[in-house]
């Protein structure tokens, strides 16, 4: 122990880590009425870290070649010690991470934390949401199974509905007329090199913005000491008399992370088939489309929307409009009121939107 202490003293003398810890951990005060929903950001950081680590481990045995990809994934699942565990963690982790991401966004919406002056926090978060969808889609192709192949065919095909440049863009995305080895190459590069890097950078921006503006107090529960937002100048929203991040809120973060890990590992061990349909166990065959090809659950609503609208361009436009509206929400919703019950129009929209999304997802699943 004393050796550790001496090491700490040695580093502290040169870097002043004690001062940083005081400022960022014990001295970092959060609103007194902060709740568990605020810990979802930390949960997402852990989820992302798990994806990065398991992804790096999969790279040890995975071969990104159309001829060998499916075999190498089978090798990982059946031959490599604990290969099944690493692969399942990666496949299940992407699903649970997206679920946590959706909850994180919902809590931000309901508690009105996206409002001025936090528009940039919301925008960077929205960008992260889109990037995570992109990394999920590109990773889906990697195992080169029937499911990967046809889900990617359908997903990339929807771009062709765009006027003029549509067909050309599909070809550019796929690196050829059809999904093929060239598609695997570019999707693999996006999935393991480009997107993780961009996501990591946007995460840094997102956290930087959080640190600059400060945490917005929840609009309900015990009242907080915070002074209201002054629109004329930059001001860090501090919370004098609040609870320190360490150890108080760190404990809440840890609790939420443990709950997340319990659910995540529960799925990994007791419902390992969750991320897979039978088509995931058949190697890709460009000459045989399986009967019912469907995307992952988080794309089912989009998939169903495209089926409902008679015209693909119309379906895409509606989705694009919905996404744009969501992204620009802080610029449309200017009132400073943040309590959900005092915003009836907003609450109706959120509840209606969630119900619509669930309905489309269920419909898409059973159609």
């Amino acid at each position: 122990m004393s050796l550790l202490k001496r090491l700490y003293r040695w580093v502290d003398l040169r870097v002043g880590i004690g001062e940083i810890a005081d400022k960022e951990l014990t001295g970092y005060l959060l609103p007194r009425n902060i709740n568990a929903w605020y810990s979802l950001g930390s949960v997402l950081l852990v989820a992302f870290a798990i994806q990065v680590v398991t992804g790096m481990l999969l790279l040890v045995y995975y071969v990104p070649d159309a001829e060998k990809a499916f075999k190498s994934v089978n090798f990982i699942m059946n031959e490599v010690p604990f290969g099944w565990l690493i692969r399942l963690c990666h496949a299940v982790g992407s699903n649970t991470m997206i679920a946590a991401l959706i909850l994180h966004m919902l809590s931000t919406l309901v508690m009105g934390s996206y409002k001025s002056p936090r528009e940039m926090n919301w925008l960077s978060g929205f960008l992260l949401f889109s990037l995570v969808q992109g990394i999920s889609l590109t990773g889906y192709l990697a195992p080169w199974s029937q499911l990967s192949f046809w889900a990617t065919t359908v997903a990339t095909n929807s771009v062709s509905a765009l006027p003029v440049a549509g067909p050309w863009m599909v070809e550019f995305l796929r690196g050829g007329k059809l999904v093929g080895p060239a598609t695997l190459g570019r999707f693999f590069a996006l999935h393991v090199a480009f997107l993780p890097l961009v996501i990591a950078m946007v995460i840094v921006v997102h956290i930087f913005l959080l640190k600059r503006t400060g945490v917005s107090p929840p609009p309900f529960g015990r009242s907080d000491t915070a002074t209201p937002f002054q629109p004329e100048r930059y001001r860090y929203q501090s919370h004098p008399g609040g609870i320190p991040f360490f150890p108080n809120y760190m404990l809440e973060d840890t609790t939420s992370i443990c709950i997340y890990l319990a659910i995540f590992l529960g799925v990994v061990f007791f419902w390992p088939s969750m991320p897979f349909t039978p088509d995931a166990f058949v190697p890709a065959d460009p000459f045989k489309t399986p009967a019912h090809i469907k995307p992952e659950w988080y794309f089912l609503a989009n998939y169903q929307t495209l089926k409902i609208f008679p015209n693909e361009l119309l379906g895409l436009t509606v989705q694009g409009a919905a996404m744009t509206f969501l992204a620009l929400l802080p610029f449309a919703d200017r009132s400073p009121e943040r309590h959900p019950l005092k915003r009836p129009l907003f609450l109706t929209l959120v509840v209606g939107g969630i119900l619509l999304w669930i309905a489309l997802t269920v419909w898409g699943h059973f159609s």
Binding site: L57, V60, P81, F82, G83, L85, I86
Partner: protein, 139 residues
């Protein structure tokens, strides 16, 4: 005083749980990355005797490493590890001189593996060979 003891006890429990979790996560990762056992076992290898002429050498993989088989001018079969005992390069067979030359630092080995010249500290390891009919069995 009582709360001090309680604090210590909880600390020990927490550290223990954390250590158990670290082992539970680390062990699969270690096994996942560890080299596959069994792949480098010393199985026997059979080569057809017709493949090799007198005074020639044949290189092959044996036990996960490189080895060489030579048929001497007298018709005798010699099998050796082809890994130089100096720093691990693979030796070359010099047919004209009937000896091995290591290209890395100029080590020389005789046909029976003994060091003739250069830095190698030990002779090349010998591998047992048996000839039955038309087949050469190594190992």
């Amino acid at each position: 005083m009582d709360s001090e003891g309680r604090r210590k006890f909880l600390g020990v429990c927490l550290a223990g749980t954390a250590a158990a979790a670290a082992v539970a996560a680390g062990y699969p990762v270690f096994r996942y990355l560890a080299p596959r056992s069994g792949a480098t076992g010393l199985q026997k290898l059979v080569i057809s005797a017709a493949d090799l002429h007198e005074g020639e050498a044949k290189f092959f993989e044996y036990g996960g490493s490189s080895a060489v088989l030579i048929k001497t001018k007298g018709g005798e079969m010699v099998a050796l590890s082809a890994v130089c005992t100096h720093l691990g390069c693979i030796v070359q067979w010099v047919k004209e001189q009937q000896h091995f030359l290591c290209p890395c630092h100029g080590g020389q080995f005789a046909i029976d593996g003994t060091v003739l010249a250069g830095p190698p500290p030990k002779p090349l390891a010998r591998i047992p060979v048996t000839v039955t009919g038309g087949n050469i069995t190594i190992g």
